[in-house]
């Protein structure tokens, strides 16, 4: 990991409220290990909002990295104002990756909201490696989608309002997508309610799953102890340490579905 002053190459709106930024960050690109890892952006020098903002790496191409982000509050708004040529202070690559490589399983990649980036990244890595993968993307409405519903190519969209792809949450879409999938393994990233639903679905259908979870981060590098997620069956005796809680920034953000308590 390192702190690097990246140069913005491109920053554009790609769907309703969803932006994509490409930047040059050779040091971080070089150390990058795979989909799931993230960077911490120091959005501005002002201390009005003191903390860096975590953003998953959506793609790495040579010395360039890409993020895909949703405008959520003040700092994501400020990120949209960055123009090509401007500099951005970023720290990365951080965290672990989705684990795959077992040809027996077909990755079913499930993303929604702010969780699109690592899922699209994973999809790209699968495609590049010649691995068949299923992509399921959820959104509230069609305008938030920037790829097409192509069930024939194993790309499934879901929208709450039915304006694109399958109507409903990602769960019915996953169910449909599984019809032609031999041995699926779900890899998911998205808002808490989505992750919770995926977790329950995977458990009910005994499908292995990995979840990339979100957490409020102070440092991103294990020195503040702020970013914990609760582990399932954590040993809660007084003598336990990091058995009940796990640091998302270094142990995660990707966990086996049965390992963590969501929400």
């Amino acid at each position: 990991m390192k702190i690097e002053i990246a140069t913005v190459l491109e920053n554009k709106l790609i769907a309703s409220n969803i932006w994509k930024m490409k930047m040059t960050a050779p040091g971080i690109a070089e150390q990058y290990k795979g989909a799931g890892q993230f960077i911490q952006i120091l959005v501005q020098s002002s201390w009005d909002n003191p903390l860096r903002r975590p953003m998953s790496i959506a793609a790495v191409d040579g010395d360039q990295i890409v993020i895909i982000y949703k405008v959520f509050g003040r700092m994501t708004q400020v990120i949209t104002e960055q123009e090509a040529g401007e500099e951005l202070d970023i720290l990365g690559p951080l965290g672990n990756t989705f684990r795959w490589g077992d040809d027996e399983f077909t990755p079913v990649l499930v993303g929604g909201g702010v969780g699109l980036a690592p899922i699209l990244n994973m999809y790209g890595e699968c495609t590049a490696a010649g691995q068949n993968a299923v992509l399921v993307i959820g959104a509230r409405t069609g305008a938030e989608h920037f790829i097409d519903h192509e069930p024939q190519n194993n790309v499934f969209l879901a929208t709450d309002d039915g304006t694109a792809g399958i109507t409903g949450t990602v769960i019915p879409a996953i169910a449909i997508s599984l019809k032609n999938t031999g041995k699926p393994e779900i890899l998911a990233c998205g808002p808490e309610p989505m992750l919770k639903a995926v977790q329950e679905f995977a458990a009910a259908h005994e499908i292995p799953a990995q979840l990339s979870v979100e957490s409020y981060m102070g440092c991103g590098i294990g020195i503040c102890q702020g970013c914990v997620v609760e582990r399932v069956n954590g040993n809660v005796s007084e003598h336990s340490y990091h058995e009940k809680y796990s640091l998302v920034c270094i142990d995660g953000p990707v966990y086996k579905s049965e390992e963590v308590i969501i929400g």
Binding site: L42, W47, N49, S215, Y216, I223, C224, V228, Y241, H242
Partner: protein
């Protein structure tokens, strides 16, 4: 090169820029990002008698020019600290100051004794009697002169290493607590720990910190830290370590002028884990530019109107 050297009790430090407890882990985590060997000292995360998981999330939230935390003293416990951390410190040039927290006098003493009986190169102890977040954090000591004096004098008997008592700003009279710690035999005092604060997510009415209250840190509290240091400086004769909201060399000089012989950088590490080293370089330049000489000449030299 200005003379950045400073002295706290019996220990000489190459420079006055330390990193604060709880904001630099156990000291070695950031070695990939910062040259930790150039820091004046590293104060490690509060250690308790037994490992602690800490509080449920959410544990942190940002606030204007600061942040709240309620980590709940998550730590590996003194046994693991002795086994796994102390050996790592043998390879460090930087002095390590071990921060200790407890819920009873006996517990503080036991932790210190256990550490003393192990072989180690740690430079001294900072005693956390000011963690606002958990009962085990010693706050009941930090708000009471008698308890502070008694705890300090018991710990004093157990070690000849540097003994620093870390004071809380959440009191009516911080100078009185400082005097009590001095009377108990502390070599130095550090101030301040975090201020009790709160933050609420109005969209769902939930507290942004799980149990409600958290500790406020960052530039927002710098004026409070400076006032506390100056008040204690006026009241005691032992050296002080200034803490609270430091992000640059100018902040360091403010603390030195208010009365600090050294400082600790906390929250700023989260934005830039190498900020300590940047401050050392900046401080060197600043002292030279203003022909200020050694920082030792500047301690407590703030001029007040009459």
């Amino acid at each position: 090169m200005a003379d950045l050297g400073t002295k706290i009790g019996i220990v000489d430090f190459e420079n006055p820029i330390f990193v604060a407890s709880g904001t630099y882990g156990y000291g070695t985590e950031v070695s990939e990002l910062a040259d930790i060997n150039d820091l004046g000292a590293i104060v490690t995360k509060s250690i308790t008698r037994y490992p602690r998981e800490g509080n449920p999330p959410p544990r942190i939230v940002e606030t204007p020019s600061g942040m709240l935390n309620s980590i709940g003293l998550a730590n590996i416990g003194v046994e693991a600290y002795i086994e796994t951390m102390i050996p790592l410190y043998e390879e460090l040039k930087t002095p390590i100051i071990m921060n200790i927290a407890g819920s009873t006098e006996a517990e503080y003493c036991e932790i210190l004794e256990m550490t003393e009986s192990a072989s180690s190169n740690i430079a001294g102890y900072e005693i956390n009697i000011s963690c606002p977040n958990v009962k085990a954090g010693g706050m009941e000591f930090g708000v009471d002169c008698d308890l502070t004096e008694q705890l300090t004098s018991r710990l004093r008997k157990l070690t000849e290493r540097l003994l620093i008592m870390k004071l809380s700003p959440n009191v009516t009279d911080i100078a009185a607590i400082g005097i009590a710690a001095e009377r108990g035999g502390a070599d130095a005092l550090s101030a301040i720990n975090t201020l009790v604060g709160m933050s609420i997510d109005t969209t769902n009415k939930e507290s942004n910190i799980h149990f409600g209250f958290g500790g406020l840190s960052g530039p927002a509290i710098k004026p409070v830290g400076l006032a506390c240091v100056h008040k204690v400086y006026q009241a005691v004769d032992i050296p002080l370590i200034g803490i609270g909201g430091i992000t640059c060399a100018n902040d360091v000089l403010e603390y030195v002028l208010a009365g600090a012989a050294a400082v600790q950088v906390g929250t700023a590490n989260y934005r830039d884990p190498d900020v300590g080293n940047s401050i050392i370089i900046e401080l060197d330049t600043l002292l030279d530019k203003n022909n200020m000489g050694s920082i030792l000449n500047l301690i407590g030299k703030v001029q007040l109107g009459s």
